[in-house]
């Protein structure tokens, strides 16, 4: 069973954190088709959050076809996000990124600078794509 955790400092809406954690678990294959998500009341009891927030997250996941709510029984995983091919891509990209990080290290960039450079580049790239 998946267990949610919240990062109130992340600036990410609580319902989105739940959505992202379910998707992450689906991508990593730690939950799969047929598995049950915790009930709204279980999540509420565990995290002391608004039940509307949990319901909203589950509705979003249902709209995306990832889970299905069965009346009176709970919410179940309906499809997966972890096709084998994408995991292979991840690995190749991760190795490339590792090499890049080593190059950044050799160039004398500290962690903060690396983060700043990555987020600035990501932002510019996304902006170019939108434009």
């Amino acid at each position: 069973m998946i267990e949610f955790h919240l990062d109130p400092r992340s600036g990410v809406a609580t319902y989105l954190q739940i959505v992202q954690q379910v998707k992450e678990s689906l991508r990593l294959g730690t939950i799969s088709v047929g598995d049950q998500l915790p009930t709204v009341r279980e999540v509420v009891a565990d995290l002391a959050i608004n039940p509307n927030t949990v319901a909203k997250a589950y509705r979003d996941l249902e709209r995306e076809g990832l889970v299905v709510a069965r009346q009176g029984r709970g919410t179940f995983v309906a499809s997966t996000l972890a096709p084998a091919a994408s995991l292979l891509h991840y690995e190749a990209l991760r190795v490339e990124l590792e090499r890049w990080l080593e190059a950044a290290d050799r160039a004398g960039l500290d962690e903060e600078s690396v983060r700043a450079l990555i987020s600035a580049t990501l932002r510019e790239t996304l902006a170019r794509r939108v434009a």
Partner: protein, 298 residues
């Protein structure tokens, strides 16, 4: 559908001083509302008006579609916990619950029995910790299966663990009863975990109100090198401007995406957003006052 709480031009004067003035707001059904604001902003006054403990000096307030002063019967559907959770100290927990059962026209015995209050029924109220007393008062408010729950500074005097247990009990009650909840608190960190709607009062007026997610989505923090400020594409108004050395940090309301690469754009947390709206006086002289959205009713 009738909103659980609706105020129009609501004001309350005490002698010559306005505790609340020109307050117009609507709270949507099923919302968990954080009523935020500094001390003396009018939060308790608003809740007392909603609970029928005070009569408005001007304007009107409707609770579940009715005027709580003229039709006090509506209060059977309102759970109210006043500041400090006042209870009879010489009663035991069980006696307090029995007393509430007999004095309330609506009472759900099973609901109360199933609540995760974690209280020993034979303990005297006077011997309970602040957290236990707060949970007992909340259980009494929820026991009538209210459609609207009003809580005035429920976290005052509670340590973080007791605060968390209180929230768990409250949210479990919301899951069970689908009640609308208004929680007044001057400590935003205490309520940001649960509220999906915010009403910010400052100086007796509504400064900001709306859906939390929409508010966070419509505001951003912009950081960049200090420079003369012109219009920024996507920014509709500047809420707060801060300089430190050569760095400029803006908290802005936006009406579109902000792609200007000279700014680092970040999301804003609820606490920081509300603090920015609470303290507009920190605006530097150089920024024209009309750039501030002075009042916004969501």
């Amino acid at each position: 559908m009738t909103p659980p709480l609706h105020a129009r031009g609501l004001g309350k004067r005490f002698r010559r001083e306005w505790l609340l003035r020109d307050c117009t707001l609507t709270i949507p059904e099923g919302a968990v509302v954080g009523l935020a604001g500094p001390n003396a902003a009018g939060k308790s006054t608003l809740l007392s008006l909603a609970a029928g403990l005070l009569a408005p000096s001007e304007g009107s307030i409707e609770v579940l579609g009715r005027d709580p002063m003229r039709e006090p019967s509506v209060l059977a559907e309102v759970g109210f916990v006043a500041q400090g959770a006042p209870l009879y100290r010489s009663f035991t927990v069980a006696e307090t619950i029995e007393f509430a059962r007999r004095t309330n026209s609506r009472w759900d015995k099973e609901l109360v029995a199933d609540m995760p209050t974690r209280l020993a029924s034979r303990t005297k109220v006077g011997a309970l910790s602040a957290g236990e007393r707060a949970r007992l008062a909340l259980a009494l408010a929820l026991g009538k299966r209210p459609r609207l729950v009003l809580l005035d500074e429920p976290f005052a005097g509670l340590d973080p663990l007791a605060g968390r247990e209180f929230l768990q009990l409250l949210m479990d009650g919301v899951a069970e009863t689908a009640a609308t909840v208004v929680i007044a608190s001057h400590v935003i960190a205490d309520i940001e975990r649960v509220c999906d709607h915010i009403v910010l009062l400052t100086g007796g007026g509504v400064r900001l109100a709306g859906d939390v997610e929409e508010l966070l989505e419509s505001h951003r923090i912009l950081m960049g090198p200090r420079r003369p400020l012109g219009p920024i594409r996507g920014v509709s108004s500047i809420v707060r401007e801060r300089h430190s050395g050569r760095q400029l940090t803006l908290l802005v309301r936006r009406d579109g995406p902000i792609h200007d690469p000279s700014w680092t754009v970040e999301r804003v947390g609820l606490e920081e957003l509300l603090l920015a709206y609470m303290a507009p006086e920190r605006m530097p002289e150089s920024v024209p006052r009309e750039r501030l959205p002075l009042r916004w009713h969501g």
